[in-house]
């Protein structure tokens, strides 16, 4: 066995690696056993652990316990810090930190920090204990250390390594800062994985457990990671299970908290209507914090049920507050925000230079993807052929709050047997940067040669090999014309049937386009440049022809055609980058 081969076989035993998803709002940890990813609950039983640390009388709290401290102890509670890591003070948006500890300039403005009262006040002395300045890096280290502890406790093994998800726009400075912070927490980062890609891996891995065929079908997936403070979209071509990101789009202001705000506004107004003399709860920090926490809970409950209630003790000026909100009301109030998700997603499709008809799946990831109206808006925006994968639209959906961390755990288990330098080398440009087919490759079909059947999709990385079979009912001599394909969007008007019952009776009376023919858009393939022709003679009646196309790294093509079960066949080669007229195989 050569040293090269040994690399594939050796398993390093000592390391326990997990997946970590580290968001501004929530973090999660997961591990893989028997090829299945499982999300780990912390001591409090949470699988979505708020990315928050709070210092109370010398004690550190994390997660849900820390989150409630935003009401009582906001200045010693650190939240929404992920996006501050590896950034200069001038480059951060401190808005999400408004209700908690405020980020301050650190290290000459090169980084940011929080000033909190970490230690308990001395019992005897009157004066307060000194405050600590905690850099974002230190805060991240402490947060990751606790995640690591939770995972280690659960697994009964010391966790020392992880695959960590990052936003798709993270740069090298951000990555270096996260690597260092994690390493200080005793976690070696084996690999970073962009959040949307991780979500897709998490989804596909689960799907492949239930599917019988081992080969994933080609698809273009739009992954929308809708979080708390931001939303990120990626359009990914999946070819034989290999992913290529075609475009990304980001909105740093749109997320679950935009929906919370809608409920906060509504509740505050209702509160003031009910309590004419009470002050505006949005004007008082503590009242606003209470309202914010409750609004998020109400919003989450509305993803499942038809109605939910605010119930807050002493919201403002000693007045308790309760209010029931139904889902329809919420969706009406939040309509503008809800539509913004659709717009962001549409923008990503355009950035990828694609049409919505090219999108096979929309995979909704991130906590906000639980919101049924976001999924149903997308279902009506995209054509019927697009599958929207969300809890409310698809039975194959996985909890969107868990998708990214599941992908990270899967990746961790896949690479756990490798040494870190080796993992690194397989993520370097020499390995990852690959020529992708500009056009689809396929066969000209139909007696009139006016059809086209795709064998290899556009945006498929090379080398690639695909095999197809096609029946020849009549038998005889047939021609296989290999060509590049052109995807067209055909628009036609479809006359509506004159009477279609009372379907449109009451809802659409303002919509006078009803009488006009409906525009039908469809995706059609046409043959473009012909690449090669092969003649196959004497095919049996009812026979089947098999064609195999092999595109090499240098874009040379080998074509083999034969009758299934027959002898011989035709084999030919197309040289790379050199047009050959009438060259023989």
């Amino acid at each position: 066995m050569s040293a090269e081969e040994a690399i594939d076989e050796v398993q390093l035993p000592a390391r326990t690696a997990i997946g970590i998803s580290f968001g501004n709002s929530y973090s999660s940890i997961a591990y893989t056993s028997d090829g299945k990813a499982e999300v780990i609950a912390n001591e409090e039983g949470d699988r979505q652990i708020p990315s928050i640390l709070s210092y109370v009388s010398g004690e550190e709290f994390q997660g849900t316990q820390a989150k409630t401290q935003i009401i009582r102890n906001p200045r010693n509670t650190i939240a929404y810090f992920r996006d501050l890591l590896g950034k200069g003070f001038k480059d951060i948006d401190p808005t999400p930190c408004h209700a908690s500890a405020h980020p301050v300039e650190h290290d000459g403005g090169k980084t940011v920090a929080f000033v909190v009262q970490e230690k308990a006040a001395e019992e005897e002395s009157e004066k307060e204990a000194e405050k600590s300045t905690l850099s974002v890096s230190e805060v991240t280290t402490r947060h990751i250390r606790r995640l690591r502890q939770s995972a280690s406790d659960y697994l009964g093994k010391d966790v020392t390594a992880a695959v960590v998800t990052i936003p798709s726009d993270y740069n090298d400075v951000n990555k270096a800062a996260l690597t260092e912070a994690a390493s200080n927490a005793g976690i070696e980062i084996l690999q970073f994985i962009p959040e949307p890609v991780s979500a897709l891996l998490g989804y596909d891995a689960k799907q492949s457990l239930t599917e019988t065929s081992s080969s994933p079908s080609d698809k273009v997936v739009l992954v929308a990671d809708l979080g708390g403070t931001r939303s990120d979209v990626a359009v990914v071509a999946s070819r034989g299970g290999i992913y290529t990101t075609l475009a990304t789009a980001h909105d740093y202001e749109l997320g679950g908290s935009s929906l919370d705000k809608v409920l906060i506004e509504y509740a505050a107004k209702e509160f003031m209507k009910k309590n004419k003399k009470a002050s505006d709860p949005r004007e008082n920090e503590r009242s606003l914090a209470k309202l914010t926490l409750e609004a998020e809970a109400v919003k989450k409950a509305l993803s499942l049920g038809g109605s939910a209630s605010f119930s807050i003790e002493s919201l403002a000026d000693g007045h308790d507050f309760s209010l029931s909100v139904n889902r329809t009301r919420f969706e009406l109030l939040a309509n503008k925000v809800l539509m913004s998700f659709t717009r962001l997603i549409e923008a990503a499709v355009q950035k990828a230079d694609l049409d919505i008809l090219d999108i096979d799946e929309v995979l909704l990831s991130g906590g906000t993807s639980h919101t049924p109206k976001i999924a149903s808006n997308l279902q009506s925006h995209f054509p019927e052929s697009t599958v929207v994968i969300a809890p409310s639209t698809s039975s194959t959906a996985i909890n969107p709050s868990e998708l990214t961390v599941r992908g990270a755990a899967i990746q961790a288990s896949l690479i756990n047997g490798f040494e870190v330098p080796e993992i690194r080398s397989s993520t370097e440009a020499v390995v990852t940067v690959t020529p992708h087919l500009h056009h689809a490759i396929g066969l000209v079909t139909g007696e009139g040669s006016n059809g086209f059947a795709v064998l290899v999709n556009a945006e498929t990385p090379v080398p690639v090999r695909r095999t197809a079979q096609i029946s020849v009912k009549a038998g005889g001599d047939v021609i296989l014309r290999l060509a590049e394909g052109v995807r067209d969007i055909k628009v036609s008007k479809e006359e509506k049937p004159a009477t279609n019952g009372n379907k449109h009776d009451d809802e659409d009376d303002e919509d006078d386009s009803d009488d006009e023919p409906e525009e039908v858009r469809e995706k059609v393939w046409k043959a473009g440049k012909i690449l090669a022709e092969a003649g196959l003679r004497g095919v049996k009646k009812g026979g089947k022809v098999e064609v195999q196309v092999n595109v090499a790294q240098d874009l040379g093509v080998t074509i083999v055609c034969r009758e299934v079960g027959g002898k011989g066949g035709v084999r030919g080669v197309l040289d790379a980058g050199r047009a050959e007229a009438n060259g023989s195989a």
């Binding site: 990852t432 005889g476 047939v478 022709e533 196959l536």
Partner: protein, 68 residues
């Protein structure tokens, strides 16, 4: 996990044109033109199928060699 590039054949539903009577070529194959220029893009280095790709690349193996 034994993941190879082997995929089930694609089943095409359309029919093939018949061979024009006057068509002829050496060994019944005519090369007409090369593929269009490709686009260089970066693969996401994740998942079992990428690992198989990276392994083939590292060992300079073809698909069929990889399947043995």
């Amino acid at each position: 996990m034994a993941i190879t590039a082997k995929m089930a054949p694609i089943q095409i539903k359309a029919s093939l044109p018949s061979l024009p009577p006057d068509w002829s070529a050496d060994k019944d194959f005519k090369a007409i033109s090369s593929l269009s220029q490709p686009t260089n893009r970066s693969l996401e280095p994740v998942g079992p199928h990428f690992l198989a790709h990276a392994r083939r690349k590292r060992h300079h193996r073809t698909f069929s060699e990889d399947e043995r």
